[in-house]
């Protein structure tokens, strides 16, 4: 069982991060995959636009879960992280380059003018969306099938992520990403009152969901022959409970999509994917890498305490912010027709000439004081005073020069 020890807390957060990355960024990758399969013509263009619009406000925030996973892993379990990253170098490089493609394509799309340009850019997005999730899941498959030994690039650079279990994981990741995306996009279309897109993506959700189910069963047989340990553990408690939740939620999603209960389907689809990640984690526990348990891999006690405190404190800022972003997105605030507010002049302190003159003089004085303390001073306090005074010079300078920005 997953005992609640300090040394398991960071990996607990890592697994949550992986699950969130899979259901959030996974759907963004899935949207990219649907752009590839949108087909030509005007309808294809509408499918690609719908996919783009839905992920555009959130993809960056969703992407950060990957960074979260990396930093918690390397702080909490440095040797394990170094072993994984060095052996899985090719997979991670491929994933990184796929992510670069997506980011650049996103930036390019906003300035693409013609339909042909948009189409080319969407193809770029799609290539990145195929490579990145496949490579990341294949890397996870390498860890699950014990092909990543402890040590500096000790494992094979290629077979560590191109093996039956990894390829199964990669294919499953692509299908589940496409599945998630189709469910989300159908729900988004419904909210926007776009019946055509709703029908389009409902159909895609049903197809991708069924394929993901078939792939999961076929994949289980592959893993059984390739990585017996993880297979056996997947069907023991507690992992089997999580796997069962995943199967039930996946099946429920199909039923919900078929019955047009799309907001509920959104939740159950996410649960299906998250529970699969959870099942893997429970099956893998307590072994992180061959011969290295979570406990052995963990950083010193004080580091773990600080890391957990930092994550919890960060969560206090993160979750309300994320909540705001998703509330605005799901409420359709970003796709509503724009309304221009007339800029009403706010009453504010009118910076007269006298005030400007004072600010200029004060700025000059701050610069002299700051320069003196920073240049002549020695040690922490004089330097701190110097930095503060020079900061005041910049702020006062900005206020002194603010009024004239528009001088003709």
């Amino acid at each position: 069982m997953l005992g609640l020890h300090l040394y398991t807390l960071p990996i607990f957060f890592v697994v949550q991060g992986v699950a969130l990355y899979a259901i959030l960024a996974g759907a963004d990758f899935g949207a990219g995959i649907w752009q590839l399969l949108a087909g030509r013509g005007e309808r294809g263009g509408r499918i690609r636009d719908h996919a783009h619009r839905s992920m555009a406000p959130v993809w960056e925030a969703n992407h950060v879960w990957l960074i979260f996973v990396l930093v918690v892993l390397w702080t909490g379990y440095p040797v394990a992280f170094a072993s994984m990253a060095s052996t899985l170098a090719v997979a991670l490089t491929a994933a990184g380059l796929g992510i670069v493609l997506r980011g650049v394509a996103y930036a390019l799309r906003s300035v693409s003018a013609s339909a042909a340009e948009v189409r080319a850019v969407d193809t770029l997005t799609a290539v990145g969306s195929l490579v990145a999730p496949f490579a990341l899941a294949a890397a996870a498959g390498g860890i699950a099938s014990q092909r990543v030994p402890v040590g500096n690039a000790r494992g094979d650079l290629w077979s560590s992520w191109l093996n039956p279990t990894s390829i199964t994981a990669g294919v499953l990741a692509l299908l589940s990403s496409a599945y998630l995306a189709a469910v989300y996009l159908a729900a988004d279309a419904r909210r926007e009152g776009d019946a055509e897109m709703e029908a389009t993506f409902r159909l895609r959700a049903l197809i991708a969901g069924s394929l993901a189910g078939v792939a999961a069963i076929a994949g289980a047989l592959v893993v059984r022959s390739d990585a017996r340990r993880i297979f056996d553990r997947l069907f023991e408690t507690p992992a089997v409970l999580s796997v069962a939740v995943s199967v039930l939620a996946g099946a429920a999603t199909l039923a919900l999509v078929a019955r047009r209960r799309l907001d509920a389907a959104r939740v159950s689809a996410a649960v299906a994917v998250a529970a699969l990640v959870g099942g893997w984690a429970l099956a893998q526990n307590p072994v992180l890498l061959p011969g290295l348990t979570v406990r052995e891999a963990a950083a010193p006690h004080d580091v773990l305490v600080l890391l957990v405190v930092a994550i919890l404190a960060g969560g206090l800022i993160l979750f309300p912010s994320l909540g705001l972003l998703f509330r605005l997105t799901l409420r359709g605030s970003f796709t509503a027709p724009p309304r221009i507010e007339r800029g009403a002049p706010l009453p504010g302190p009118t910076s007269g000439l006298a005030a400007t003159l004072t600010a200029t003089r004060l700025a000059g004085a701050s610069f002299v004081v700051g320069a003196a303390f920073l240049f002549i001073g020695d040690g922490g306090w004089p330097h701190a005073i110097g930095v503060v005074a020079l900061g005041a010079f910049i702020v006062l300078g900005l206020s002194a020069l603010a009024g004239e920005d528009a001088r003709e």
Binding site: L306, A336, P345
Partner: protein
């Protein structure tokens, strides 16, 4: 718990290529970081002026800049991801030994990154959809996260230069105190101030340079004038301050990293009253062809014309950084920084005494140079601190040779990344050109200003 478990050192034939790959990734990412630090503040400044005055011109400016901001942020996100991958891909020895010591800095930075990414989404897609006040407010966390993000990333870099907060016993790291390591080291204060200012200087001069090009081509209406003064005013105020901060940084380096100082200045042998050399190159323990300023180095670095300056020969050859790379990068940074400060002073003088932006063409020609030059200075500064720290990854504790991966194929990864980044840079240039040429949107056609989202 065996946090001291470390990986065995290995032989890597392509250490130099690994370092170059890291440097390339960094050089592409860091100008984008500058925009992440400083540009949101400038966009908010324009939006604030719109809210204050009700003048449409400011809203158009803020919306056009928002498009630039979001494109550059997207590229910054993905190039930053490559950097975090490379920590493990290229330097597993460093990560496995010290991940527990400095990792917390990145964990905290991760949350800054989250805040930045979340609110940039809200800000960009909330234009004309949220209320004006709510929209403006959604930009403030982006600016704050730019500052905290700089703090946390630089806490790691400053620790690498001035490592503290742990003990090494029998080659194992023990007694780890991450807070002391990250926030108690002697380099954080000046590195943070130096880099944060650099963010505003690089962004300010680059944006101003774009409008200076327009000015030289006759595009000079009220809109362009406003668009030039907002970034240039910040950069002009920050650049003279940067000279003082840079001098502070150099004096701290002189105290804690004498070998780096010796490399910056090409000091071969330990000497009293060391001269400062401008230009020239380092060869056989001395600067050739340079212009000497007698006792200049002792005076600048230690505020004493007869102070002793430790030479490179004080440490074994294997412990010295590559001198010419470090020194030339340093001289580039200092000379460009001085040029930028002079240009900034010229602008400030014109604004305060003559109550107008400078009018002659010379000033705008120099501005066009100042934009790209500020990026050269930025990268020169990072080369100075990173190459100057060599052969150590953690100063005097771990050598870069012990940090590097054992994996084969570094040149292939390097070449692939270089090809991708060449395309990325070309794409960014194309995007900025397209955005600059986009027709001005007016209040009647707001969607055009955001390209239909």
């Amino acid at each position: 718990m065996t946090g001291a478990l470390t990986l065995d050192p290995v032989h890597q034939a392509y250490l130099l290529e690994a370092r170059q790959m890291q440097a390339l990734s960094f050089a592409v990412h860091i100008p984008l970081v500058c925009f992440g630090i400083a540009f949101p503040a400038m966009v908010l400044r324009a939006e604030w002026l719109w809210m204050r005055t009700g003048d449409e011109i400011y809203r158009v400016l803020a919306m056009r800049w928002t498009k630039v901001m979001v494109a550059l942020f997207a590229c910054g996100v993905v190039t930053g991801t490559i950097l975090s991958f490379e920590m493990g891909l290229l330097w597993p020895g460093f990560m496995s030994t010290f991940g527990a010591v400095f990792g917390l800095g990145f964990a905290l930075e991760g949350f800054s990154f989250f805040v930045e990414a979340i609110f940039i989404g809200i800000y960009v897609y909330g234009w004309n959809r949220l209320s004006a006040r709510a929209h403006f407010a959604s930009g403030i966390p982006i600016v704050l996260a730019g500052l905290t993000g700089s703090l946390f990333v630089l806490s790691v870099n400053s620790w690498m230069n001035d490592p503290t907060g742990f003990d090494v016993r029998d080659g194992r790291v023990t007694g780890v105190h991450p807070i002391t390591a990250l926030f108690g080291n002697g380099h954080l204060a000046f590195e943070l101030v130096h880099m944060y200012l650099a963010g505003f200087i690089v962004t300010g001069f680059l944006v101003a340079a774009a409008y200076a090009v327009g000015h030289l081509r006759g595009r000079w209406g009220r809109y362009e004038r406003i668009a030039l003064t907002i970034p240039l005013t910040v950069a002009a105020l920050a650049s003279p301050v940067q000279l003082l901060v840079g001098d502070w940084a150099a004096r701290e380096v002189a105290k804690t990293q004498p070998t780096k100082l010796a490399a910056l200045e090409g000091v071969g042998h330990t000497q009293r009253g060391a001269p400062l050399h401008l230009l020239g190159w380092y060869q056989d323990g001395d600067v050739k062809v340079g212009i000497p300023v007698p006792k200049g180095l002792s005076l600048l670095a230690f505020h004493d014309p007869n102070a002793e300056v430790q030479g490179l020969a004080a440490v074994p050859a294997a412990d010295r950084p590559p001198v010419n790379v470090t020194r030339i990068a340093f001289q580039l940074m200092v000379s460009i920084g001085t040029f930028l400060a002079a240009l900034g002073a010229w602008y400030l003088y014109a604004r305060t005494r003559r109550k107008s932006v400078p009018s002659g063409r010379l000033f705008y020609r120099l501005l066009v140079v100042a934009g790209p030059a500020s990026v050269v200075a930025l990268i020169g500064g990072w080369v100075t601190t990173e190459v100057g720290r060599q052969p150590w990854v953690v100063y005097h504790v771990m050598r870069t040779t012990d940090a590097v991966t054992a994996a084969h194929g570094i040149p292939i990864g390097y070449a692939t990344l270089a090809a991708f980044y060449a395309c990325l840079v070309a794409a960014v240039a194309w995007i900025l050109r397209r955005l600059a040429r986009a027709p001005m949107a007016t209040a009647a056609e707001p969607e055009r200003a955001l390209g239909g989202g």
